[in-house]
C-alpha cells in the first residue's frame, strides 16, 4: 500500500543548533510509526514540518500524497494534530472546544455539534462536557486535545508526546484510547521519550538523536540490537563472584560482565522470571549469599547507550521544551524484582 507519510532529507537549522540533519521517513498507510528520542532530538521539529507549521531548510515531504511545502492547506484537511501541551482553551467547555474545531474544519454547525458530542462520549468526557476545561484533570485535557485532532475524522494523525507529564493512570487511559484509534485503521505518527510506549503502540520505531535517525525497526529488532533482557546480581562476598559467574553462565545467552568493586554480575538472558528463579536456586544450592538480584529490561537509556554511547538524559540546546519528569511506572519495563540500584553498564 502507498505510504501515508514520506519525508526525504529534511533539514532544519536554528541559529546555533541543527535540529534536523537529513531525516528520511516512510510510514505505510494504516500503520503506526513511533518516533523515539530524548528531548531536543528533533521529534517535535519533524512533526511541525509534516503538519505544515514549520518550513524545513531543505528536503521534501508528503502527507496523504500531498506535498507539505506546496499545498499546506490541502494537507491540513487530511490531518489531525495533538501537540505536546494539551492545546485546549481552558475557558471554553469541552463541547465548545470541539465544536469550534469542527467549524474551523468547515464541517458546518450541525455536524460540528453532533461530532463534538460523539467524541466527548467516546472519550468518556460526557459528564464534563459543559464544564470549562480549566476544571479538567491533566488526563482529561489530553483526551480532549486528542479528540480535537479527530474531529474531522482525518486519515492521518500526529501525536506529539501524548502522555508526557501524565500520571500512570492517565497514561494507561491514553494508551487505551490510542490503541482503539489505531484499530480503526488510522495512520499514526507518534513521538515519545518512552521505549515502553513506542513498544506498546508502534508497528515501527525510528530512533532519533541530534536530528539524525540512528536506528530503525520493530521494537523487538531494536531490543535485540540493544541486548535484550539481563540478569543483574550482587553477591555478598566478593570472593564468590567468580564462582557465581561459572554457575550462572550456562543459564544465560551470552557472557556475564563482572564488576568486582561493586560485587556485581550482569548477564544477558532470555526467559525472564524463570531464569531468575533458576539462578536463585543454583546459587542457594552452592550457598552463595546474595545482596540483590533483579531482571533488567532495556530502557530508552540502554537503547541510547548502545546506539550512541551517551545517555538519553544528555541534553542539547534543542528548540524543544525542558524535560518533564520521567514516568514513575509501577509496571514499567525498567527494573523488576528486588533490584533498585543503578547500573551504568550498557551490555554484556
Amino acid at each position: 500500500m502507498a505510504d501515508a507519510i514520506t519525508a526525504q532529507g529534511l533539514v532544519k537549522r536554528y541559529k546555533t543548533v541543527t535540529a534536523l540533519d537529513g531525516v528520511d521517513l516512510a510510514v505505510p498507510t494504516g500503520s503506526v510509526l513511533g518516533l523515539l528520542g530524548p528531548n531536543g532530538a528533533g521529534k517535535t521539529t519533524i512533526v511541525r514540518i509534516l503538519t505544515t507549521l514549520l518550513q524545513p531548510d531543505a528536503g521534501s515531504a508528503t502527507v496523504a500524497g500531498v506535498d507539505v511545502l506546496t499545498r499546506p492547506r490541502d494537507v491540513r484537511r487530511r490531518i489531525g494534530l495533538s501537540g505536546q501541551y494539551a492545546a485546549v482553551d481552558e475557558y471554553l467547555t469541552g463541547f465548545e472546544n470541539l465544536d469550534m474545531i469542527g467549524r474551523l474544519y468547515h464541517l458546518g454547525a450541525k455536524r460540528s455539534r453532533a461530532r463534538a458530542r460523539e467524541l466527548l462520549a467516546s472519550f468518556r468526557l460526557e459528564d464534563a462536557a459543559d464544564r470549562p476545561s480549566k476544571t479538567y484533570s491533566g488526563g482529561m485535557r489530553r483526551r480532549l486535545d486528542l479528540a480535537g485532532a479527530l474531529v474531522a475524522d482525518p486519515p492521518i494523525i500526529f501525536l506529539d508526546e501524548p502522555t508526557t507529564g501524565l500520571d500512570p493512570r492517565g497514561r494507561t487511559e491514553m494508551w487505551e484510547v490510542i490503541q482503539n484509534l489505531v484499530a480503526g485503521g488510522t495512520t499514526l505518527l507518534l513521538t515519545t521519550q518512552y521505549l515502553e510506549e513506542a513498544d506498546l503502540l508502534a508497528d515501527d520505531i525510528v530512533v532519533i538523536d541530534h536530528g539524525r535517525i540512528i536506528a530503525q525497526g520493530t521494537a523487538d529488532q531494536l531490543k535485540m540490537q540493544v541486548g535484550g533482557e539481563r540478569l543483574e546480581l550482587t553477591v555478598r562476598d566478593p570472593v564468590t563472584l567468580l564462582r557465581a559467574r561459572d554457575l550462572l553462565e550456562p543459564l544465560g545467552v551470552g557472557k556475564a560482565a563482572l564488576d568486582e568493586g561493586r560485587r556485581t554480575l550482569l548477564m544477558p538472558i532470555s526467559g525472564g522470571a524463570q531464569v531468575l528463579t533458576e539462578a536463585l536456586r543454583v546459587l542457594d544450592d552452592a550457598q552463595i549469599g546474595i545482596d540483590d538480584v533483579g531482571l533488567r529490561r532495556p530502557t530508552l537509556d540502554d537503547v541510547f547507550l548502545s546506539l550512541t554511547g551517551h545517555a538519553s538524559e544528555e541534553q542539547d540546546a534543542g528548540p524543544e521544551e525542558s524535560p518533564p519528569p520521567p514516568p514513575a511506572e509501577p509496571t514499567g519495563p525498567g527494573r523488576h524484582a528486588a533490584a533498585a540500584h543503578e547500573s551504568s553498564t550498557g551490555g554484556a
Partner: protein
C-alpha cells in the same frame, strides 16, 4: 482562498474570545471596573486641581476629561489581542489553529474584532459612569456616534500593532510590561488629562503631534465637550483631528496587518 471562510472562521474565533470575556473574572473586572475607577478618580481627585479652558470648576474638568479617558482606555483595550495571542502561542493553541484548514488570517481578524466588542462594552460602561458624574454629550446623535466610531477605529488599528507584538515577544509578561511602558507615556503626554498649554515646550510639541491627542481632540469636538469660544490649538493635527486620527489608523493598518500575518505564519509554541 475563498472569502466566505475568512468571515465565518473569523466569526468562530471572535466568538471564542468573547466567551472568554464572560468566563474570565479578571478580564471582566479589568474591562468594566477599572474604567469606572478611572472616571471617578480623575473626576473627583484631580478635577478640582486642574484648570481647563472655558472653566475652572470641577464640572468643566469632567466635560474635558471624558474624551481623554475614553481614548486611553480603548488603547489599553487593544492590548488584549497581544496578550491573548502570546498566551495562545505558549499554550499550543496557535499550533492547533495553524494545523487546521481554516483561513490563516481568521485567527488575527477574529482576535482583533473581539477587542472591538470588548471596547464597545467598555465605552458603554464608561459613558454611563460619565453621565452620572456630570459629563454630557452636547452635540447631535450623529456626531456623537461618529465620536465613538473614531475611538473604535483608532483602537482597532492599535490592536494590529499589539497582535504583531504579542506574537513577537517571548511571554505574556514581557508583552504586558512592554506595552505598559509605551502606552502610559503615550496616553499621558497628550491632551488627555491636562490642557496642552500646561506642558513644557518640547513635550507640548510631541503632544500636539501625538495621535492620542488628535483622537481625544476629535472626540471632544464630536461630543460637544469644548465650551463656546475656546479656540482649537494651532497645531495642524489638532486643527484636523479627525483626518489626522484616520491617517494614523490607516498607517497602522497598512503596516501592521501584513507584519502580523507574516509573524503568525512563523509562530509555533515555545
Amino acid at each position: 482562498m475563498a472569502a466566505p471562510t475568512v468571515f465565518s472562521d473569523s466569526y468562530v474565533v471572535a466568538k471564542r474570545n468573547i466567551i472568554k470575556i464572560k468566563r474570565v473574572p479578571d478580564l471582566l473586572v479589568f474591562t468594566t471596573l477599572s474604567p469606572i475607577m478611572f472616571v471617578l478618580l480623575f473626576a473627583y481627585v484631580f478635577g478640582g486641581a486642574i484648570d481647563v479652558p472655558g472653566g475652572a470648576d470641577a464640572d468643566a474638568y469632567r466635560e474635558f476629561l471624558m474624551a481623554g479617558i475614553f481614548a486611553q482606555t480603548v488603547i489599553f483595550g487593544a492590548t488584549i489581542t497581544g496578550a491573548g495571542l502570546a498566551e495562545d502561542i505558549k499554550k499550543g493553541i496557535i499550533d492547533r489553529f495553524r494545523s487546521l484548514p481554516m483561513a490563516p488570517s481568521a485567527v488575527l481578524t477574529g482576535r482583533t474584532i473581539s477587542d472591538v466588542a470588548n471596547n464597545i462594552l467598555v465605552l458603554i460602561v464608561m459613558s454611563l459612569t460619565g453621565l452620572l458624574v456630570g459629563w454630557g454629550i452636547h452635540s447631535s446623535v450623529a456626531e456623537a456616534a461618529l465620536g465613538f466610531l473614531l475611538l473604535l477605529i483608532f483602537s482597532y488599528s492599535i490592536s494590529w500593532i499589539m497582535a504583531w507584538l504579542g506574537m513577537l515577544v517571548p511571554s505574556v509578561e514581557v508583552f504586558n510590561n512592554a506595552t505598559f511602558i509605551v502606552i502610559f507615556p503615550l496616553t499621558f503626554v497628550a491632551n488627555t488629562f491636562v490642557p496642552l498649554e500646561t506642558l513644557p515646550a518640547p513635550l507640548q510639541t510631541f503632544a500636539e503631534w501625538n495621535p492620542v491627542s488628535a483622537v481625544t481632540q476629535a472626540s471632544r469636538e464630536l461630543f460637544g465637550n469644548i465650551p463656546e469660544g475656546v479656540p482649537t490649538p494651532d497645531a495642524w493635527p489638532l486643527q484636523h483631528s479627525v483626518v489626522y486620527t484616520l491617517i494614523w489608523s490607516a498607517i497602522f493598518i497598512i503596516v501592521f496587518v501584513p507584519l502580523a500575518n507574516l509573524q503568525y505564519q512563523r509562530s509555533t509554541s515555545r
